[in-house]
Symmetry: C2
C-alpha cells in the first residue's frame, strides 16, 4: 500500500517532482473536500505543515493514527502542541530554510539602526548630535551572535566578509562554528555581552532560551550597542526591554519577532515599545518576504521528507525535550 | 626660509606630527588673530581647507601670492571657486578619505529600502502586499555602481563579499576595476541600467556628470530597482526624479546628497520629494559621522601634503578642466 503524504499547502511543481516515482500518494489540503479529508488523515504517514492557522493540529491529530513524521515548513517549532503529539511521531523542522532572507533582514536592521535610518531627520546638525540617530561605524565592529545555526552563521558570514567584523558566537555547548572567531556556551553570555558593538539574536524559543535576555543582560550591553532579534520574541523579556531601552537611549534595538501575535498579521502592542525613538520593529516579515522564498522553503521541507521516504536520515530532527 | 602651511581647522596631534621635522611653519586658522592672518596668508605656500563656510577662498585668495598647493579635506571639489584660483596653484582633493563610512551608508540605504525599513508598518499583510515596502532579496542581485573610485570600489566590495552581488561598474573610460565583473564607459549607461537590481551613484559633480541621470535614465530602470545616491545631488535631475518616482512606485530611491544646501545643515525642499513613500533622505551625513572619521580624513589630507613637501607625487590631483 502506498505511503500517504499530506501537505497543508499546495506544493510548487518542482517540489512535487521530487516526490514522484517514490511510490507515495500526495494530497494537498486546499484541494481536498471536507469529506475526503477525514479519510486522508486516517491514512497519512507524513504530514507537512506550517501547523499554524492553516491546520489546527490539536483538532486533527486524533484522526491521524498512522502519522509517523511531522515536517514543518517553518524554521521554528515552538508553536507545536507537543502535549498532544504522540511519542512515536518524529518531528523535523525546516531550520536553515530562511537563513539568507532573515540574515539580510537582520543586517538591514543593524545598518538602518547604525545610520539612524529608523528616525531620519533632514537637519545635519541634529542628525549628528542626537544620540538616538547619530551615525555609527560598522566596519571592524565586534559582532556577537546568539545562535550559530543557519541564520546565525549567515549573519556572521555577511559581517565578516562584508564588514570585516570580529565575530563571537554563543551556542548551547560552546562548540566552534564557521565564520566565528570565538564561540562560548550560553553560560558565558554575561561575560561577552559587554564586548559587543552589535548583538544579533537568532535563537529558537525553547526552555533553554525563553527569557534569556532580561534586564541584567540588557544592562550589561556596551555603551552604544545595536541589538537585533530575528529569533523569537520571548527570548527577550518584553517589560525589561522597554524599561532598559527607555533609560538607555544609547542602545538601539530592532526586532522582527514579537511577544503576542494576532493571527500572524497585526502586532498588538502591550508596552509602548514601538513609540521609543531607539526602537525599530517589523511584523515578522523577514523570512516570508517573497514568493520565491516560500517556494524555496517548501521545497527544502519536501527534500527532507524524501530523505525519510528513502530510508536516509532526515535533517533537523526536533528534540522534544527542548520544548516541554 | 621655512615653507608655510596653513590649515583652516586645528589638526589632530597625529597629523601635526607628520609635519614635524620637515622644516615647515604650520598655522591653524582658529588659533590666528585677524592681524596675524593677513601676514600668514602672504607667506602661505600650502593651504589645507574644506573651503566651505569656514574659509571664503574667493575673499582671501588675492592675499595669497605665494600659494602653490590647495589640498581639500573634502573628497568632492565641485564647490571650489575655480575662476579665481590662479593657474599655477595645484589642487588636490581628499578622494577616498570617506570611502568606508560612505559605502556603509550606501549599503544601509540599499538594505533599508530593500526591506521596507524606510516606511515600516506593523501589519504583516500590508507589509507584504504594499509595493513600496514589500521586502526584496539582495543576495546575488546585480549591482550597478556609477563611479569606480574609492567609494564605488568599497560599495562593490561589500556587495560582492557580503551579498554575493554581480557587479557592473561605470567610469569615464570603461577601464576594469577591482571587485567589478564588468565595467563600461559612461556612454554605455543606458544599455546597462535595465540590468541592475541596485544602482549606487558615487560620482563627483563635474561637467561630465552634471544631470547624467534624468528622466530617460530613470525610466530605463528595471522594475523594482533600488537606487541610492552618495555622490552629489546634481548628478541626478531633481525634477525628473520627482516625476518618475511619483509615477513608478516600484522604484525606491535613497539619497544623502542634495540639490540645495542651506549652510550645510537644513535641507530645503524644492520639490515634494521627501514626502514620497518610495524616497528616503538623509542630510549629507554619510561621511561626517564621527569624530574619528573627520580625524582620519584630515590626517589623510596632511599625508598628501607631506608627499608634496618631500618632492613626491601627491595623490588625487584635480584636473581643473573637469570643473570649468
Amino acid at each position: 500500500m502506498a505511503r500517504v503524504v499530506l501537505s497543508t499547502v499546495e506544493l510548487p511543481t518542482k517540489a512535487k517532482e521530487l516526490l514522484s516515482g517514490l511510490g507515495v500518494e500526495l494530497y494537498e489540503l486546499p484541494r481536498l473536500s471536507e469529506g475526503d479529508l477525514v479519510n486522508v488523515l486516517l491514512r497519512t504517514e507524513i504530514l507537512m505543515c506550517w501547523c499554524g492557522k492553516e491546520f489546527d493540529l490539536t483538532k486533527w491529530i486524533n484522526h491521524m493514527p498512522n502519522l509517523r513524521v511531522l515536517q514543518t515548513f517553518s524554521a521554528g517549532v515552538d508553536h507545536l502542541p507537543y502535549s498532544v503529539i504522540p511519542g512515536n511521531v518524529e518531528i523535523y523542522s525546516n531550520a536553515g530554510a530562511y537563513s539568507e532572507p532573515v540574515a539580510e533582514h537582520a543586517w538591514a536592521m543593524i545598518l538602518a539602526l547604525a545610520k539612524g535610518l529608523h528616525r531620519p531627520v533632514l537637519n545635519a546638525r541634529e542628525y549628528l548630535s542626537n544620540e538616538v540617530i547619530m551615525p555609527r561605524k560598522i566596519i571592524k565592529a565586534t559582532l556577537l551572535v546568539l545562535g550559530t545555526g543557519g541564520i546565525g552563521r549567515e549573519i556572521a558570514r555577511i559581517g565578516k566578509e562584508g564588514f570585516k567584523t570580529y565575530n563571537i558566537g554563543i551556542n548551547r555547548s560552546g562548540r566552534p562554528a564557521e565564520y566565528f572567531d570565538e564561540v562560548y556556551p550560553t553560560s558565558k553570555l554575561l561575560d561577552v555581552l559587554p564586548r559587543a558593538d552589535i548583538v544579533a539574536i537568532t535563537l529558537p524559543l525553547n526552555r533553554y532560551t525563553k527569557g534569556l535576555i532580561g534586564e541584567r543582560e540588557l544592562r550589561a550591553l556596551k555603551r552604544g550597542a545595536i541589538v537585533v532579534n530575528v529569533g523569537r520574541g520571548d527570548v527577550v523579556k518584553e517589560d525589561d526591554l522597554y524599561r532598559v531601552l527607555k533609560e538607555r537611549q544609547d542602545i538601539r534595538f530592532g526586532t522582527d519577532v514579537w511577544w503576542v501575535y494576532d493571527g500572524r498579521e497585526e502586532i498588538p502592542s502591550r508596552t509602548p515599545l514601538t513609540a521609543l525613538q531607539n526602537f525599530l520593529g517589523t511584523p515578522h516579515i523577514a523570512g516570508g518576504a517573497q514568493k520565491d522564498i516560500a517556494e524555496y522553503a517548501i521545497t527544502r521541507a519536501v527534500e527532507n521528507v524524501v530523505r525519510y521516504i528513502r530510508g536516509e536520515k532526515p535533517m533537523n530532527k526536533v528534540d522534544r525535550s527542548d520544548y516541554v
